[in-house]
Assembly symmetry: C2
Homo-oligomer: 203 residues x 2
Amino acid sequence: MAVVEFWFEFASTYSYPAAFAVEERARAVGVRLAWRSFLLAPIFGAQGWNDSPFNIYPAKGKYMWRDLARICARQGLPLRRPTQFPRNGLLAARVACRYAEEQWLPEFVRRVYAANFRDDRDISSAEVVGHVIDSLGLKAEEILAEAQTQNSKDALRTQTDRAIKLGLIGAPSFAVEGEIFWGGDRVEQAFDWALGKRDVVAL
Amino acid sequence: MAVVEFWFEFASTYSYPAAFAVEERARAVGVRLAWRSFLLAPIFGAQGWNDSPFNIYPAKGKYMWRDLARICARQGLPLRRPTQFPRNGLLAARVACRYAEEQWLPEFVRRVYAANFRDDRDISSAEVVGHVIDSLGLKAEEILAEAQTQNSKDALRTQTDRAIKLGLIGAPSFAVEGEIFWGGDRVEQAFDWALGKRDVVAL
C-alpha cells in the first residue's frame, strides 16, 4: 500500500495540531506514515515572501490564530500564542531529517511543537531542542552534533528540494505517490488516496 | 438558533462545490442558511492583489485546480476548467444580493456556478445571467433591470463592506454570529457552532 508522507515545518502553526493527530489516525485506518521535515523559507521566498504570510497579510494572520485555537480546542490540545512568530525551526528540522526512521522521531516532533506553541519556548536554540532530546532519554549532545554535520545539513536541503519539486506550497501537507494534499484538514483525503479510494479526476 | 451565513463570490472556484453541497447539509443537520453574495476584489485589493491569488501565485493556482478537481469528483460534480479565470461576477452578485430572500435564489446561484465552471460560459455577460434566470421560469429582463438600480448596487456594496468588517479573507466563508469559518471544508464546523457545539477557545 502507498505510504503517506507527512510534510511538516516546525515554524508552521497548523502543523502543530496535525503532528499530534496524524499518527493515531494513520494507525486507525491502517496507513503507513513517513515523517518528512522541510523548510518553508525557500518556498515562501520563491513567492516573494521573506516572512510568514500570516505576518505579511494581517487579516490572514488574525483568522489563522482564531482558526488554530478552535482546532486545538477540538483536539483538547493546549495552545499559547508564542511571543515570537515564526520561530526558526532549522536545527529541529535537521534532527528530524537525520533521524526520520527512529522510533522516537514522532514524539520528538510533537515535543518540539509543544515547546513552541504550548510553552512559548525558543525552539531555534540548541538548549531547547537539546532539552527535548534529553526528555526522551537520549543523548542530546551527540544527536545535536550529528544533526549539524555537513551530511545532515545536505540531507535537509535535498529533502526541501524534493518538497519544492512535489509542488508543496505550505505545511502541513500530505503526499501520496506524488499526489499532494495541503492542510491538516486534508488528512482523511490523503489516507483515502493511499487506501486506493481515488476519485477519478481529469482536468 | 443562530443562522449560518454562507458567503460566496461567483468568481471563486471553491465556492462552486460549496454552493452545491451547503443546502442539503444544512437541511440534514437542521441549520438555517442565509445566502450572502459579495465581491472579493476589494478584499484582495486591500492585500495589494489586483488579480486572483491563484493567478498571482502559480504554484497555489496549480494546487487549487487539482484540489478542486478532487473535491468536485467526490461530490459527483462536473468540472471544466474555464478558459477565462477569474470571471467577473458583479452582475450575478447584484441579482443574488437583491433577491437573497427568494425561494429560487439558491438554484439561481448554483446555475450561475455551473455556467462558469461546468459549461465555461461568460457569467459576466447579461445574456448568460439572463439565460439562467429564464431557465428558472422567471422574467430575466425585469430582474436584470431591478438588479442594476442604484438601490441594488448600493445593497451589494453595503454587503461587501460587511464582509470586510467581519474579517472575511476569501470565499466561500461561513459566519455564525460573527464567528468566521473560511473554506468549503469548514462547513461542518460552522454548523456545529450554530448548533451550540462551541469549543471553548481563549487566545
